[in-house]
Amino acid sequence: MRDVAVIGVGITKWGEIWKQSLRDIYVETALLALEDAGVDRVDSMYVGSMSPGLFVGQEHIGALLSDYLGQKHIPAVRVESACASGGVAVRMGFMEVASGISDAVLVSGIEKMTDVGGDEATYALGSAADQEYEGYHGLTFPGLYALIARAHMEKYGTTREQLAMVAVKNHKNGANNPNAQFPFEVTVEQVINSVKVADPLNILDCSPITDGAAAVVLVPAEKAREMKKPVIKIVGSGFATDSFALAQRKEITWLEATYLAGQRAYGMAGKKPEDLDLLEVHDCFTIAEICVTEALGVVEKGRGGAAVEAGETALEGRIPVNTSGGLKSKGHPVGATGVAQVMEVVKQLRGEAGKRQVKDPRVGMTQNMGGSGASTVCHIFEREA
């Protein structure tokens, strides 16, 4: 297996992008990544996208987007694992370069979510849950995480305020991210008093509906070393699945797939949680970040809420989590999220994160989760000395 590095990253401003179509958003973003990488042509493409079929009625987007990007005739395919689609696309690209099949792979993630109304978007997102035994009972995505939240609160004493503090922290980081959908700060009071969505979660506990894309270019590390930029290697990749329906998990508050994906990534990288300088995790809801930090071993089981309250995961804390603003502030164009996480970690490791720069990080991790946690993909990145 060859060492793999990320040599180019690209993102455009996320939000409600009324003027651009799926293909236009994609091309604009992918060109930024190619430019950053200094390459014109790639050997193949992976596109992480959860449901272009339901959001814009367009399947087969691998071929569509390679055509519009001007990458004629290359292999191009869409990768889907619900909200983890982007992260899994990164893994596919990583494996293709590591194996020697390709020398330059463009991995991107995209979701164009506002071309349908709210009901249709809710339906599309709901299709990541068990349609027959969760959706049939009127359970929504915020509802699934609300079930986890209440169980976590009752089991570990996690407070409503601690949930809110995840949003407060991530919005504070996102306020320094010019590409974020909601680059502004919020207070605990605002979160707690925001519109109820699925008790105990309110609207400000939830990631938004977003249009957006992100792209990265992967090459063998030896090629990356020929470039002027710092070499950011993918040193660990872990992917795991779990019982599909939340009810069937052994422990409702424990994200086993995240734990296993994390362990696999740590194992490949030869790293431990203590080696990490920052993480980008899947805070689709405030409770998710709390559970993820526990499953990845960066905080003790049950202490996820307390750790946020103590500032351990703040930008200047012991282990910064979601310096980009997370899904919460940056936005959550579902399939794009996993790729944007990679981009944030690469930017941080390169020292290009501007006002939200963590001091001299060397190792960073991404965690991207599908559904209520039935699939998770993790990557560990390291800057070469």
Binding site: D119, H137, G138, T140, L147, K196, V197, A198, D199
Partner: protein, 131 residues
């Protein structure tokens, strides 16, 4: 939303709670599975779920999918049945402020939603306080 064939296929589960069981593992699967994920056993036997259980966690859905709009706000919980199976379902006939984890519940046959004005009517189980 359910089409007639998709709905009809699930009737044994939705109407009669038909499940299956891996005898060596002493685990019940609902919906029934072809293979036990714990031991790989494919000779699973038919069984029927318990009628009663205890509420493990719940939420109040205030922003529902379109077909549930008439029912909102409504409670959805995960219920541990007395046979150990954990089920997702609505909890009805109970004021939200009286709900608590651990409360005893039993199943009732209810309407889940209508498929528009002309489609099928979808039925299934919900949970009500034990009486």
């Amino acid at each position: 939303m359910s089409t007639p064939s998709r709905y009809w296929r699930e009737i044994p589960q939705r109407y009669r709670k038909e499940a299956n069981r891996c005898a060596p593992c002493d685990l019940i699967y609902f919906p029934p599975r072809l293979i036990c994920p714990e031991c790989g056993n494919r000779a699973l036997e038919k069984t029927v779920l318990a009628e009663k259980g205890s509420l493990m966690t719940y939420t109040i859905i205030r922003v529902p999918p379109s077909q549930f709009k008439d029912q909102a706000p409504y409670a959805v919980g995960i219920v541990e049945m007395d046979d150990g199976v954990k089920l997702t379902g609505q909890v009805v006939d109970c004021e939200f402020d009286k709900m608590h984890t651990g409360m005893r519940l039993q199943m009732e046959f209810r309407k889940m939603y209508d498929v528009g004005h002309s489609g099928i009517i979808c039925y299934g189980y919900k949970f009500v306080p034990e009486y």
